[in-house]
Assembly symmetry: C2
Homo-oligomer: 476 residues x 2
């Protein structure tokens, strides 16, 4: 068996066993490992570097839209959770509870934040006095914990990392504007940084955040045609303001409750990246967030001058702002090609004695495997251009799939066939919970988002008048 095939055999076939392909890839490429406590993960350096790049890009956008970062406590008094009725119903079953501190049983149990609306609410209530203090626009990068029964690295873990924005506004209009603005920030970020096109829209009552008036989500299509909720933005109305007494003295001299929002994305995005772009050979990382953008593989590395030339090239690329690395280990070039392909590095650069003599290098892009040559003198520009091309192409490929794989259904049979064929399915819906539950029961698909501006005659389930068009899909 050829060495290359041996290597690819280390990961399951992406088409026939996508779940195992995913697990094999995340473990084998050292993105992540299982933590000792069930449902926890260790994000290893290669995975964490992706998160750092996500943070850098998204944090700049969060700040550019006027938000500031802060840090709120991990532990929340259990009683806070109970102040907003829907919130406690949604989150109480999955909290981790601290009952002992400093060797003593605590008077009140404390929960590890599953999300922080309650503790932000408590502090906003204390800080907010007058309309002049509004809006309050705060974000935090933090760990949160939700005790999940079925877990998978990045996609669903008991502890995960995320950012959560929490804002307070004087009016409903402003709060709704903020909710939609941040959904837009997420969409732009997903498309331009992660190269993932997304569907955005309002969630159904069943799928909304526990305690929100309305939840807006962005949904991304994965390799197998299933959907992954990649980010959410919640309009909370006055629900939390009333539960935590977030009031302000308005211009008219009366006290009013504020309108609040919250929005977040998490380390789930790493799972989204893997499942949106990966192929039979492993990871395919978009250059904007790839820890290593270009890997230099010296050919005939023992020949005089090769390692030096490769090191020079690396230095030149790094100086130009490219995240370049050189693999100077004593593994064979073939082994290295496979290893770095599996790790999803967007561009491989091969440089050997003949290349050096000819003043050129060989460039191989990860997305199409296309091989080109470029002059060494022009290395930084050539690599940067290729990285931009890869980023663009990954988005276009994902977009093409997203467009091709949306079908419409007028009957439950069509809906079932659609999702079984790995599609997202648009269908009319009467708006009632019974139909939504029945659709899930019969097709394993859930309402991902409500589609704006489209119309259907009848509910795909009960045949009564359709109030909305909904995008259904099986989801992670």
């Amino acid at each position: 068996m050829a060495k290359e095939n041996q290597f690819v055999n280390q990961i399951a076939d992406i088409e026939t066993d996508f779940p195992r392909w995913y697990t094999d890839v995340v473990i084998r490429t050292k993105l992540v490992d299982y933590g000792p406590v069930k449902g926890t993960m260790v994000i290893r350096p290669y995975g964490y570097a992706i998160w750092e790049n996500i943070q850098k890009e998204l944090d700049a956008r969060i700040k550019a839209t006027g938000h500031q970062n802060a840090y709120f406590p991990l532990l929340i008094p259990y009683s806070y959770m109970t102040r907003e009725a829907e919130h406690v119903e949604g989150f109480a079953p999955e909290v981790a509870v601290v009952t002992v501190g400093g060797g003593e049983k605590l008077a009140e149990p404390l929960v590890i934040r599953p999300t922080s609306e309650t503790i932000f609410g408590e502090m906003y209530s204390k800080w907010l006095q007058s309309y002049r203090d509004l809006p309050i626009l705060i974000n935090q990068w933090a760990n949160v914990m939700r005790w999940e029964k079925t877990t998978r690295p990045f996609l669903r873990t008991s502890e995960f990392l995320w950012q959560e924005g929490h804002t307070a506004h004087a009016t409903e209009e402003e709060a709704m504007e903020e909710t939609m603005k941040m959904l837009g920030v997420y969409k732009e970020f997903a498309e331009n940084c992660l190269a993932i096109p997304v569907f955005t829209g309002r969630k159904t009552e069943k799928e909304k955040f526990a305690g929100a008036v309305a939840t807006f989500g962005m949904e991304a299509m994965m390799h197998d045609g299933k959907s992954l909720q990649a980010g959410t933005s919640h309009y909370l109305g006055q629900n939390f303001a009333k539960a935590f007494d977030i009031q302000f003295l308005d211009k008219d001299g009366t006290h009013k409750y504020a309108y609040t929002t919250s929005w977040g994305v998490s380390t789930r995005l790493i799972g989204a990246l893997i499942m949106a772009h990966g192929d039979a050979r492993g990871l395919v990382l978009p250059p904007v967030v790839a820890p290593v953008q270009a890997i230099i593989v010296p050919i005939a590395a023992k020949k005089e001058g090769v390692l030096d030339a490769a090191a020079d090239l690396k230095a030149k690329l790094v100086a130009a702002g490219v995240r370049a690395e050189m693999d100077a280990t004593d593994n064979s070039p073939g082994w290295k090609f496979n290893e770095w392909e599996m790790k999803g590095v967007p561009v491989r650069i091969e440089i050997g004695p003949r290349d050096i003599e000819a003043g050129k290098m060989v460039l191989v892009r990860r997305d199409t495997h296309e091989k080109t040559e470029a002059p060494l003198a022009d290395a930084a520009d050539a690599v940067k251009k290729l990285l931009a091309d890869v980023q663009h192409n990954l988005f276009e490929m994902a977009k093409k799939r997203k467009e091709e794989r949306v079908v419409s259904a007028e009957t439950m049979d069509e809906l079932l066939k659609g999702v079984e064929g790995g599609n997202f399915v648009k269908a009319g819906w009467c708006g009632c919970r019974e139909c939504e539950d029945k659709i899930k029961e019969q097709t394993a698909a859930t309402a991902r988002v409500i589609v704006e501006g489209e119309h259907a005659e009848k509910c795909v389930c009960c045949g009564k008048e359709a109030k909305q068009v909904v995008l259904f899909a099986r989801a992670y």
Copy 2:
């Protein structure tokens, strides 16, 4: 009473009531607030921005020395804590324990990490195979929790933020070299970024980290002459390697235990900054980590052209990489001067109609209150130069105090007088725990670091032969 004095009255006198000055300043400048759970803090945007600047500077140094970031789980099985005898003795009394998850009592209680040697150890044991895998050089930025009885914002809180590096090496020499290297990184960072000169050295057995073979610390002198432990670097020998079975196959074909280190600094550094540089008017922030480096205060702001000129100036400074803000609120200039002085902004820029006409601006530095003028055409360079001067001067002032306030003692009386006078005191020590305890009992001073290269005849406490010279001080 003049408005200015009214304002200063909002914070306690720094010379007569330093503890209250500290609390007043951190709350009044909105660096921090108390969280609802006793001993927790909310790091507000102004405080968190300092932490972000600290992270940016220190993270670059940690990466430049070959380390990679990762993220390990928050929850650690209780049994892990017990595997290293000294470690459990030191940390078990102050852990927070999760006993319930997802509505069910857990089979094994879990502790919220007070530090992560145990869980890093468990994973390193799994990952490490051969000498080729060494060294392992990983750092993480995370929250940790220690159930403290007496807490103060930044200085001692039950939850705090930090970075913790955990490394594994093939030999004792390499691990010790790493320990000292990171101590050096911390010292350079403290001096050049925080403008805080530090004493570094080995800790006594009593003061070392629970589970370490040797702890090296850096100690900073605060305004009141007390010491603050600002960072530590631990040589762990094979203690954790044996407890967690961190072994590797060496070149000689035998299995050996690795040698490990750990090192960390925390949000305590924000407390250090405040107490090292603050003055009667409030915070004095070193430019390198100040959230706002230059505050522009428009004078006669309603006169035509003033706000535009101020906004232009701000844009020019921001484009040049200066963290500049403009205060365009309708408060009086005097109120603004005081407010931004209290907030410790290194440089204030005043710009009014006459300045604009003359093509100049007024610069006031926070450290010396010195007022100068500079041409608007040359704004960015002038402000940058002044920021560099302030940074340099803050370090020089702190260094001068550090040098002036170290005295020597040969008797317990001299030691007591020294620390009561707000000094660090060098004294001979026989090396026994009894004397160390007695010194603490009688003077409230503790051994901060062992001084290398100096010699004393007798132990300041028992009068027997001195084995070491120790730097004693009262400490936070």
